[in-house]
């Protein structure tokens, strides 16, 4: 199998282009590759469209840093603090520049990604009937169910495919075959529909480990473009069995990003003055160590023997 191991700066440089649509984290509040958020900012990527149901403060950071032209999502803010200050400034005052907002709910975004992944021409749903999401996002169409005699409104969700999906997993082999456990959000749909996938692995393991449990694989490894090993690449978001959430870090970001100046100072301290993720981890120091899960609560094994 192809060796796709890369380092994160190279993978971001080679695989993410200005104007791309990018899924950066697909598990809602957890498994968000903040390491890639920081690297996109460092490399000065521009005019990205961020796709995510919820990616906590990551999206707010990218907006404030001027990387984002469009938002396709259900929620942008700071899960610890509530509102996203950079999101507000961009939406309300076009600071640092205007952004196009494509409103979705969580379920309709998942449905759109599913349609994109599996070539479904569009996905009929009912869950946002009556919502003004239908007014603010004209990409949805409303129709009636042709299978029912009674008038039954239906919303049609068009397919959505990202140019790049950057997806954290607990472990991957060098070819992009990986294991993800715990809740997976929209990971599978986002990956399969994406033109290019960057796997951000907390750990690189031998191919035999992944092959020992094919039911744990979240998406086809052969579709992966690059694999980057970044321990704690999700910090400050949590990862099942690996890292707890750094709530204080996100609260601090929330407070400091309230004003542009504070956000810029935060950005300098945690992104621009930190050359790479190893330096970021070193800067976190004992704080990161305290977030690392040291316990061991193993899954009961299953047998794949064939004779």
């Amino acid at each position: 199998m192809m060796d796709k191991l890369s380092n994160l700066p190279s993978a971001i440089a080679d695989i993410v282009r200005n104007e791309d649509s990018v899924v950066l984290g697909a598990c809602l509040e957890g498994n968000i590759p903040f390491c890639a958020t920081y690297e996109l900012i460092r490399q000065g990527k521009r005019n990205l469209t961020m796709i995510a149901p919820i990616s906590d403060a990551s999206t707010d950071m990218l907006i404030g840093a001027g990387c984002v032209a469009g938002l396709t999502g259900a929620w942008v803010g700071n899960v610890s603090g509530g509102l996203g200050h950079n999101y507000r400034r961009a939406a309300e005052k076009s600071m640092p520049h205007p952004i196009r907002i494509h409103d979705y709910s969580n379920f309709t975004l998942a449905a759109a990604l599913m349609a994109g992944a599996y070539g479904i021409p569009y996905m009929p749903v009912r869950s946002i009937l009556g919502s003004d999401i239908l007014a603010s996002n004209p990409e949805f169409k409303q129709t009636t169910n042709p299978f029912t005699a009674e008038h039954e409104p239906v919303v049609l969700v068009p397919p959505l495919k990202a140019d790049v999906a950057i997806l954290p997993v607990q472990r991957s082999d060098r070819a992009g075959n990986c294991h993800l456990w715990g809740s997976s959000g929209v990971t599978t749909e986002a990956a399969i529909g994406a033109a290019r996938i960057i796997v951000v692995a907390d750990e690189i393991v031998e191919a035999e480990i992944i092959a020992s449990d094919p039911s744990r694989v979240p998406f086809p490894g052969w579709q992966v473009s690059a694999v980057c090993q970044v321990p704690a690449g999700c910090h400050p978001s949590p990862m099942a069995g690996r890292w707890r959430r750094d709530n204080a870090f996100l609260n601090d970001y929330h407070l400091r990003s309230r004003e542009v100046e504070g956000f810029q100072a935060w950005l300098k301290e945690w992104v621009f003055d930190v050359p790479d993720h190893a330096a970021y981890r070193a800067k976190l120091g004992e704080r990161l160590d305290a977030l690392q899960i040291k316990g061991w609560a193993p899954s009961a094994p299953v047998n794949y023997a064939s004779e």
Partner: protein
């Protein structure tokens, strides 16, 4: 503190817990509802199931404090760890009895805005957006709302309907294609409101101890009517308080909304 040995937050959580019936499948989300789920499980609803839109279902509440639904203690020992589509698909499939949401603005028909204060064409404040709230409001068999009773939040008509309640009242929710559902309780720091009559307008159903009808009316942005027989919200029982203290040992969630 209300001076009765429990805080307002605690009363709200316990009132929310009482809205969960035994054996029900409930979208609990984060903050107060997840506490309410825990209290319900430990008291009158030992067979309730909690759902989380990240792709989790739980029987037992998580053993440790959660900041978010994806936190490791919520993953450990879950009843089901899967995708967002499957868990929220249960909702659209009619398999979910109730769901909790909060909001920045609510109106007399229980419509909720968490997207745009001022509406999307004349936005004054950009709020975070729906998340899963629109889906939960549309598809859960009952919607339970928890909000602080601020006058500028309880408005005649929300400027943007993120999460539909009874829309324009009457059968307008049904006309929009939403069969059943809609808010059945709005739990605030002052009172509980419930829809009443054919119009489904939110009425005052009970007042928490220490508050008055006039106070509630003054802090509601529409001409709030009172359900005949409205009384005081029943006090938390010792068992309910004990359950709550067992779940939120450090008081983290009881002290914020």
């Amino acid at each position: 503190m209300s001076g009765e040995g429990y805080s307002t937050q605690e009363l709200m959580i316990i009132a929310a817990a009482r809205e969960i019936h035994d054996g029900e499948v409930v979208f609990v989300g984060m903050r107060l509802p997840i506490m309410a789920f825990g209290v319900a499980r430990l008291t009158h609803a030992p067979n309730a199931v909690g759902l989380f839109e990240c792709g989790l279902a739980r029987y037992e509440p998580a053993a440790d404090m959660l900041y978010t639904m994806t936190d490791p203690p919520n993953q450990k020992g879950a009843a089901w760890a899967t995708s967002l589509f499957q868990v929220m698909g249960l909702l659209q499939g009619g398999h979910v009895d109730a769901g909790f949401i909060g909001g920045a603005e609510i109106d007399r028909f229980g419509n909720i805005n968490t997207s745009y204060i001022g509406g999307h064409t004349r936005m004054k404040v950009k709020l975070p957006g729906s998340g899963g709230a629109a889906d939960i409001a549309g598809m859960a068999k009952r919607l339970l709302v928890i909000m602080n009773h601020d006058p500028h939040r309880f408005v005649q008509r929300v400027s943007y309907v993120t999460s539909p309640g009874y829309l324009d009242g009457g059968d307008s929710r049904h006309q929009a294609g939403l069969d059943g559902g809609g808010p059945t309780a709005v739990i605030t720091d002052l009172a509980i409101l419930r829809p009443h009559g054919r119009d489904h307008e939110l009425h005052l159903a009970s007042i928490h101890g220490g508050h008055t009808v006039n106070e509630v009316l003054a802090r509601t942005g529409w001409d709030l009517k009172i359900i005949p027989g409205a009384a005081q919200t029943p006090l938390p029982t010792a068992a309910e308080l004990a359950a709550l203290h067992r779940i939120d040992r450090d008081g983290f969630w009881r002290n914020k909304i």
